[in-house]
């Protein structure tokens, strides 16, 4: 067989593309439902984690609610799922499935977006949980932040698509996320957010009023991404947050 002929090359390429293409398409559509379910559970785990519902034991690792009970726990703790348009809000089932990235694109095009917000209740205390979406060094970063009526952070959870392992990827570790808890996002009346800064003379994060947490060594851009993401998110939700703020 002459494998150098042009016609052979074209046929080989065509056959190969068809085989590989159908293999991948078959696989992707076959596995889609399972992958979707995994992603849904993950979102529920993250929302619950931001309001402090997790299986964390003392210091160390991040332990989400296990996937087999997460749906039950989610309906137990999350009292309301809202969509926020400006300062108005209305209830919407399964608002947690709204893709923040798409909503941000709608806003970028100048249209009015429907922003999801969840109200959780634990031991009589209300948690306002807001999804966030932003940009790290290499790719997307996202997460959830939960606030109380005084605009004090009750918990955060971050995740990322492709930040550098051991550096930027550390935004999803306990020691980084725990630092945000207790910080106020307000500076006077301004929604200043929380900045990730280097050398702020407060590495143990004792000062909860300075709108700052200690940065990660070697991950400046990812840290800046987190700062910007929180700020942008607060800007979007500000009209609604003003209506619930008591301080």
């Amino acid at each position: 067989m002459n494998t150098e002929k042009n016609s052979y090359t074209v046929i080989f390429a065509t056959v190969m593309v068809v085989i590989v293409g159908s293999l991948l398409a078959f696989l992707a559509s076959g596995l889609r439902p399972r992958i979707d379910e995994n992603e849904r559970f993950e979102k529920q785990q993250n929302i619950l984690y931001a309001m402090g519902v997790s299986q964390n034991e003392d210091a160390g690792s991040v332990n989400f609610i296990p996937t087999d009970v997460v749906e039950e726990e989610f309906s137990k703790y999350i009292k309301q799922q809202l969509v926020v348009v400006g300062s108005e809000s209305k209830e919407r089932d399964e608002a947690y499935l709204i893709d923040m990235k798409k909503q941000l694109n709608i806003i970028k095009n100048g249209d009015e977006a429907e922003l999801p917000l969840f109200i959780g209740e634990k031991e009589g205390k209300q948690y306002y949980i807001i999804p966030m979406y932003g940009k790290g060094l290499w790719d997307a970063i996202w997460g959830f932040i939960s606030l109380d009526e005084n605009m004090v952070v009750q918990g955060v959870v971050f995740d990322h698509k492709g930040e550098t392992p051991g550096l930027g990827s550390n935004i999803k570790l306990r020691f980084f996320m725990d630092d945000f808890t207790g910080e106020s996002v307000l500076d006077g009346n301004r929604y200043a957010g929380i900045s990730v800064v280097k050398g702020n003379n407060d590495p143990l994060n004792n000062d909860k009023e300075d709108n700052q947490v200690d940065a990660l060594a070697g991950a400046t851009i990812t840290g800046n991404g987190v700062t910007a993401m929180i700020k942008e998110t607060l800007k979007l939700y500000k009209p609604y947050l003003e209506t619930i703020r008591t301080k």
């Binding site: 494998t3 596995l31 051991g166």
Partner: protein, 215 residues
């Protein structure tokens, strides 16, 4: 190794030392710099490459007589990319947590020059069994260096191994830190990996002078 002939055994053993893909052939440096800040990432990356290179070498070897030489690089690329996507999708469906750890490596595997290098240099000219051994050997040789680099970078840079503190608590100043020892922040950034790889190359060549190239 009683199971393998001496020649076959060398296919696995050579890349571990005297024909190491990183320290001798100087391939795959990019991922060796990028992901060795922690030991866990090094191990995960090594295992991923082990799988892709082992299977990929066999596939290319089986196809070696029917691949038109004009488009062989494209064919190789498709094989790597397909394998990586299949692994990624299956993990996403059945081992979601693991797939998130791996996500960042997927792109790096496709562009890993060791894989293309072995397809081109070995699998296109040898049978499936030999190619399989060659793939495993080279992936192990790559993995050994990654783990060594990851070990030193995580230990000296963060004072941990696999995320577990081994030198005490740097903030509360316990263990080794009570003597005034500090983590070396330089080890966390990628250039430190070059220095560690450089030291390995130096050690290896001074032990075996035959490896030194004529200037």
């Amino acid at each position: 190794m009683g199971l393998l002939s001496k020649k076959d055994a060398n296919l696995i053993l050579d890349p571990l030392a005297d024909n190491n893909p990183i320290t001798i052939q100087v391939l795959g440096i990019c991922s060796a710099l990028a992901i060795t800040a922690e030991l866990k990432a090094s191990v995960v990356m090594s295992l991923s490459v082990l799988f892709v290179l082992g299977v990929g070498n066999v596939v290319i070897s089986l196809l070696r007589n029917i691949i038109p030489s004009k488009i062989r690089i494209i064919v190789q690329l498709i094989v790597v990319a397909t394998l990586v996507i299949v692994v990624d999708q299956v993990l996403k469906a059945f081992a979601y947590e693991l797939s998130k750890t791996l996500a960042v490596f997927v792109g790096l595997i496709i562009t890993n020059c060791i894989i293309m290098g072995r397809f081109e240099a070995f699998a296109l000219g040898n049978g499936p069994w030999k190619s399989f051994l060659d793939g495993i050997g080279n992936a192990l040789g790559y993995g050994v260096i990654l783990v060594i680099v990851g070990f030193f970078r995580e230990l000296l840079g963060s004072g941990t191994l696999f995320g577990i503190p081994v030198l005490g608590d740097p903030i509360a100043k316990t263990g080794l830190y009570s003597t005034g020892y500090e983590n070396n922040g330089f080890m966390i950034i990628p250039p430190a990996a070059l220095i560690v790889v450089g030291i390995i190359i130096w050690a290896q060549r001074s032990r075996n002078k035959a490896l030194i190239e004529e200037a």
